[in-house]
């Protein structure tokens, strides 16, 4: 059997002067889509950011292996070049930097790392147009500055679009559904579903079950107070929707 793409064992993380993650165990196999659900402040976004290598957190115990390698030993750009992608909860604006130019730089950094030839502007634009079409994303997005003046929905779509171009091995979507109206949510979900493949694992971090109406996960985990208190199939999300997080706090705690 294949090694899991991501193997998290007993992960403890501190940030902002307190312990946020208190022993996470998680294993995601090739092609699997996992959802992490939890109330505000449960640590689910922290988990996403720690996996991406955000410098403001300190790992105090545990290990993370990604494709069999020690993920925590890699700097954020190496993780990205190795195919780990995070769709940000709050995508950052970079004024004056053209969206296409930025993405071309990112793609070529990945290609270079893999020993592939860098794409020139022509080949890059061909690829971009094909992906935009596939995801129903408007081409005008490419001519604007990175996230600058984008609506909330446009920012999230841009994240999914970047994912489609960079074709990660592991995609982490940090509350990609937050702040989206139902139409925007459908577009984003369509993008994610289009990207689903046996070659790609995904980790969806979400507060609400509604995203999981459109993206059906293989496994659902519930995170409260820095621990995964329950894991199950997609029906767990529905149960949670019905009963609320309070229900699990009782069940989950020892």
């Amino acid at each position: 059997m294949d090694n899991p793409v991501l193997l998290v064992e007993n992960l403890h993380v501190r940030g902002g002067g307190r312990e946020i993650l208190r022993g996470i165990d998680l294993s995601i196999g090739r092609g699997e889509v996992h959802a992490i659900m939890g109330p505000n402040g449960s640590g689910k976004s922290t988990l996403a950011r720690v996996l991406a290598g955000h410098p403001e957190y300190e790992v105090t115990a545990g290990s993370v292996h990604y494709k069999g390698q020690d993920l925590l030993a890699m700097d954020p750009e190496t993780r990205a070049r190795e195919g780990l992608f995070m769709a940000f909860q709050y995508p950052v604006e970079i004024p004056g930097v053209n969206n296409a130019y930025f993405l071309k730089g990112a793609l070529n950094a990945l290609r270079k790392h893999r020993g592939e030839e860098e794409l020139d502007a022509m080949d890059f634009m061909t690829l971009v147009r094909e992906r935009m079409k596939r995801l129903d994303i408007d081409e005008s997005l490419m001519n604007r500055s990175v996230n600058e003046g984008f609506s909330g929905g446009e920012k999230k779509r841009n994240e999914i679009f970047q994912m489609a171009v960079l074709e990660p091995t592991l995609a982490i979507l940090d509350e990609t559904d937050s702040g989206l109206d139902i139409d925007a949510l459908k577009i984003v979900a369509h993008g994610v579903n289009t990207m689903r493949s046996p070659e790609r694992a995904m980790l969806l971090v979400t507060h609400y079950q509604r995203l999981l109406n459109y993206i059906v996960p293989d496994v659902v985990h519930v995170l409260t107070d820095g621990r995964i208190v329950r894991s199950g199939g997609k029906e767990l999300a529905l149960e949670l929707e019905e009963k609320g997080y309070g229900w699990l706090e009782h069940v989950g705690c020892d």
Binding site: A52, G53, H54, P55, E56, D75, P76, E77, R79, A80, R81, F85, M86, F88, P91, V92, E93, I94, P95, G96, V97, F102, L103, G105, A106, A109, L110, H113, S145, V146, Q162, L166
Partner: protein, 475 residues
Amino acid sequence: MIQDLANREYRYGFVTDVEQESVPRGLNEEIVRLISAKKQEPAWLLDWRLKAFRTWLTMKEPAWANIKYGPIDYQNIIYYSAPKRRPALQSLDEVDPEIRRTFDKLGIPLDEQKLLSGVAVDAVFDSVSVATTFKEKLASLGIIFGSFSDAVQQHPDLVRRYLGTVVPYSDNFFATLNSAVFSDGSFAYIPKGVRCPMELSTYFRINARETGQFERTLIIAEDGASVSYLEGCTAPMRDEHQLHAAVVELVALDNATIKYSTVQNWYPGDKDGKGGIYNFVTKRGTCLGVNSKITWTQVETGSAITWKYPGCILQGDHSVGEFYSVATTNNWQQADTGTKMIHLGRNTRSTIVSKGISAGHGQNTYRGLVKIAKGASGARNYSQCDSLLIGDRCGAHTFPYLDIKNSTARVEHEASTSKIGEDQIFYCRQRGLSIEDAVNLIVSGFCKEVFRQLPMEFAVEAQKLLSVTLEGSVG
């Protein structure tokens, strides 16, 4: 790991070993006469220098700028230095091979065949111009381009008519000092109706120790003429500070256009603030004619201290003045720079776009004056001043002055200060970019409106220069 890069040496800091001929150290009337005599100047020019010198003696060094530096000992500077055996050059082949190698090393080949097509270069080494390329080709169009000294000899009427008309000899402490002791610089004259077919460029190099560089540039565009001019500059790394006090005057007649671009890369001093050039420069253009236009674009990355305010006097009706600036200060560099837009004519327009980037302990000040005279009805100005901070030990300051005497004027000012955020850098890294690439990307986005104004090859150079200047500023 990033800190190592910060200590990377200034690439242009080498010294050329040529025999130099200098005047004695210090400044007095004799020195002024000696410089004038060395250059075999006509009496009127010597008189002009002497008037400037006497005025200078009554002046005080300005103290209003937001910069700090120790006292400058004006008697401890050598005011004129030139490579010895200066021949009357008949062709470029006669340039001293050592000097030629210097310019090659700087990426400024003096071989016409090797030059970027479409750029004519005047090379100034310490106090004198050592070579000018494409002189003949330009002459066939009636364009005069060469050293200021040659222009004094060959076109004295033109020089006499315009010298000091934009920046009078009594203008300010540093301009007045320059008027007394200026050595060389460039002169360009574009006759009526001629669009200069190539970029004109001057490359300034300070080489000698303990000398100041005081060049003077004069550019005149006659009715309907247009020209794009570029200057670049470097200096060796030396522990002591060296003074550079230049003056540039531009004159644009009816419907004429002058575009003046600077990529300033004087030695900035080391990471502890030791050494570096003191850059006190006066640059001004007059839009004398109707519909004339002057555009200043500057990328200021070098010098320990930069003090310059390239301005436009918008005298002709419907004339246009523009100022686009990127100024970076890293380590202990200080810059107090901006512009003056003086609206005198009717329906005159000006645009100011200033981008200040501070890193390390750098201090960056924008200082700008927009003056709208009583008669300047329908005048318009738009100013935008943005500051970018990298790290938390640097500073950005903005001093916009408005002086509006006409009620029909429209003046807009926008300003912003931002910090390169950890979040921006992390976002870029999460997409696979290194920290350095992330900073360069963010900075180039910030400077985009200014770089767009530079001729293509120079925009690329400027961008590279900026990334070298800011190397190691984040980590």
